[in-house]
């Protein structure tokens, strides 16, 4: 009887090393429910400091849902309920005393579809610093905007038309504008939810290059359905299946020597 129980527990356990020595974000036994439907099942993982980690898995495996737990974006969905513990620098972000507004300033997010505000390029980037009062004066704000656009690799392309609408840019430029907007509030972690899925290959290459550079300064969690992309941009990869975290490991190892048979099936294209 005892043995059978042990076996079930083992099935739940994730293959690979979920822990990180220099962890920024720690998720412990996280469950997410939509109504009575369990979307995330007992996931434990660490996100290291200045680490790019990709979450991969078939559609509907819960990788985006899990990503949105880190900045509590799931709070905006009425039927969504979260159990377990997620800490940022050892502080539980689901603690009742935590104010979700500054938390989201510390954990930036880039969405699947480029979603610049219907404002000028300048105002798009300046939005975050303005609402959080990050700049002392106009000059400082100008600096923040310029610096953010430079980091997002967009400055050269838009510095002569900062006051034209952000929605007038091309898809790839819009997405880089969204990245600039996210880093303008100096977050510690950046969450990216399939940031290239709506872009063409050239724009995708630019964003990937950017993620690579930003990985030197920020912890980045990127959800992607492209295994090539995961292989290109991330050091660690986590494979999700049906709401469970199946395997975590160095990207190279996951793609060359997957240890779990489900991971292998996905990598080799047997699960889509």
């Amino acid at each position: 009887m005892e043995n059978i129980k042990e076996d079930f527990k083992n099935l739940d356990l994730t293959v690979g090393d979920v822990f990180s020595k220099d962890a920024r974000l720690k998720a412990r036994n996280v469950n997410v429910f939509y109504g009575s439907n369990k979307a995330i099942d007992n996931v434990t993982i660490d996100i290291g400091n200045k680490e790019v980690i990709s979450l991969i898995g078939p559609s509907g495996c819960g990788k985006s849902t899990f990503l949105r737990c880190f900045n509590r974006m799931n709070d905006t969905i009425d039927s969504c309920r979260i159990e377990g513990k997620i800490t940022l620098d050892n502080e539980n972000i689901y603690n009742e005393k935590i104010d979700v507004v500054p938390l989201r300033a510390r954990i930036g997010m880039v969405f699947q579809k480029p979603n610049p505000f219907p404002k000028s390029i300048y105002d798009n980037v300046a939005y975050g610093p303005r609402i959080h009062g990050l700049s002392e004066n106009k000059e400082h704000l100008d600096n923040i905007v310029e610096e953010s656009l430079k980091r997002a690799g967009l400055w050269e392309e838009v510095n002569d038309r900062l006051l034209s609408p952000g929605t007038g840019l091309s898809g790839g430029q819009q997405q880089r504008l969204c990245i600039a907007r996210a880093i303008a509030v100096s977050p510690e972690v950046i969450l990216m939810d399939e940031p290239c899925s709506a872009l063409d290959p050239i724009a995708t290459a630019k964003i990937e290059e950017l993620i690579h550079e930003l990985g030197n300064e920020y912890s980045i969690v990127i959800v992607t359905h492209s295994m090539q992309q995961a292989a290109r941009v991330s050091k660690r990869t986590a494979y999700f299946h049906l709401g469970k975290l199946i395997e975590v490991g160095k990207t190279k190892e996951i793609f060359t020597r997957p240890r779990h048979n489900q991971t292998e099936a996905y990598i080799s294209g047997k699960i889509g």
């Binding site: 974006m73 009425d78 989201r104 979603n115 219907p118 609402i131 929605t167 969204c178 996210a182």
Partner: protein
């Protein structure tokens, strides 16, 4: 009754053609065993329309044309001495004859009227026969021509498409022409008014007092007592509209924001229909609510504060009108706010904005063109609203900015002028059209300007 039977007949014939065309198409398919270009019922519809539309056109030409033709022909049957008499008016003579045709006889009409009516009756009889023959003939001939076209290569589907498109185009042209006709009818009457009263007296005069018209015309010897300065009326209209907007824009917009951003779906399902009930209340009900409840309340509470509130005040009318247009603003704004993509809200929340910041800095600016459009609609409702102001704002044409006094509006003056029997030679009656024309021009101008603003913002945001 005859016309009704004729229409039924035409429709019956074209339905027959539908069956004939449909069967023919099916037969071609069956006998020759070839594929038709279009589905067989399209051939039926094509033949139906080919028969129906020309004969309907013929029908309308005849029924509209014959009256005009008879009217001009009947002039020959009016005796010379009647035509030469001083108070001869052909419109009245025509009305007499027509009444006689329809059997409405007042007193003993002159012999020539009865004779003319007899002639008219015989014409009607002849025209009915002519109309029926030509309509039915057209229906059959054009239906047959349509039928002849049927073969397996004929693209009836495309032909039907074209015919349907032209029917739709004609409908929209009718709508536009009606608007133009309305404006022209107002313009022509206004021209007659401006022939009597100089336009600058009307546009820039500050006293509205057409009451002495009758006395002047009766020859009391007093001239120039009536004054047609429209400024007090327009001032009253705008005073009331502004009060109404002060009530409805904040309440409507805020409730729209609450409904679309803050309310749970249950609250929304409960509150939104409730708000829309407001739009279903007839304005006359609002009118007596304003006159019997709000105005006395304002008056009594004003006297508590030591204010002198007129029993019919601009404030009462404006407040109630504001309540009336709340649903226009809230319902439309709610739709526009909901149409703002969720991704923009997510972006706002993702950057750490509060709900209020997201609404005020992201959602509302994005929805602004639509919100402005809803406010424009509300303004034109407010400016054109009549019943509430007639009942609650009074008829005293005071030129004042004090909302506690009685004012009057353009629409309520038009109503007072045109209610009852009117003679269309008098400046008083004609002034109603001049007022209407000015009102139309002002609202058109406002709409035009507002649309321009909306367009400007839209370019910036999309």
């Amino acid at each position: 009754m005859f016309n009704f039977y004729l229409l039924i007949g035409i429709i019956f014939i074209s339905l027959l053609f539908f069956i004939i065309g449909h069967n023919e198409a099916k037969n071609i398919k069956k006998i020759n065993n070839i594929k038709l270009h279009s589905l067989s019922h399209y051939y039926g519809i094509f033949v139906l329309l080919a028969s129906l539309l020309p004969s309907l056109g013929m029908y309308f030409i005849f029924t509209i044309g014959d009256d005009l033709l008879f009217a001009s022909l009947i002039q020959n049957y009016v005796p010379i001495e009647v035509v030469n008499s001083e108070d001869y008016n052909f419109t009245i003579v025509l009305a007499q004859i027509k009444n006689s045709v329809e059997g409405l006889i007042f007193g003993t009409p002159d012999q020539w009227v009865t004779d003319a009516a007899e002639v008219w009756k015989s014409w009607v009889y002849q025209s009915q026969i002519l109309t029926s023959i030509s309509c039915i003939f057209t229906a059959i001939i054009s239906g047959f021509l349509g039928y002849r076209k049927i073969n397996h290569k004929f693209r009836s589907r495309n032909a039907v498409e074209k015919i349907v498109m032209s029917i739709l185009a004609v409908s929209s042209i009718i709508a536009i022409l009606t608007t133009v006709a309305i404006i022209f009818s107002v313009v022509f009457e206004s021209i007659r008014f401006f022939a009597l009263i100089p336009y600058d007296d009307f546009l820039f005069g500050t006293v509205w007092n057409p009451q002495f018209e009758g006395a002047e015309r009766a020859g009391s010897g007093q001239e120039g007592l009536s004054q047609y300065g429209a400024i007090p009326l327009f001032a009253g209209t705008f005073l009331i509209s502004i009060i109404a907007l002060c009530v409805s824009v904040p309440i409507g917009l805020f409730s729209a924001i609450y409904l679309s951003e803050y309310a749970t779906s249950k609250e929304r399902a409960f509150f939104k229909p409730l708000l829309e009930i407001l739009a279903g209340i007839p304005t006359v009900v609002y009118g007596f609510f304003a006159a019997l409840t709000v105005a006395p309340f304002l008056r009594s509470s004003g006297s508590v504060l030591g204010l002198d509130v007129a029993s019919e005040s601009a404030l009462a009318a404006g407040l109630v009108m504001g309540i009336m247009i709340i649903p226009f603003i809230s319902s439309l704004s709610d739709d526009v706010i909901n149409a703002v993509p969720q991704s923009l809200r997510d972006a706002g929340y993702g950057l750490g904005s509060t709900k209020n910041e997201t609404v005020m800095k992201i959602v509302l600016p994005a929805a602004l063109p639509g919100v402005v459009a809803s406010i424009i609609l509300a303004v034109s409702r407010a400016v054109g609203e009549t019943m509430i102001v007639v009942m609650a704002a009074g008829l005293a044409a005071n030129l004042t900015a004090n909302p506690l006094e009685a004012v009057t509006t353009v629409t309520s003056q038009i109503v007072t002028i045109l209610v009852g029997d009117q003679e269309f030679e008098s400046a008083k009656t004609l002034s109603a059209f001049a007022l209407a024309l000015t009102l139309i021009i002002i609202t058109l101008g406002m709409n035009f300007y507002a649309l321009h603003i909306v367009k400007k913002y839209r370019e910036q945001y999309e």
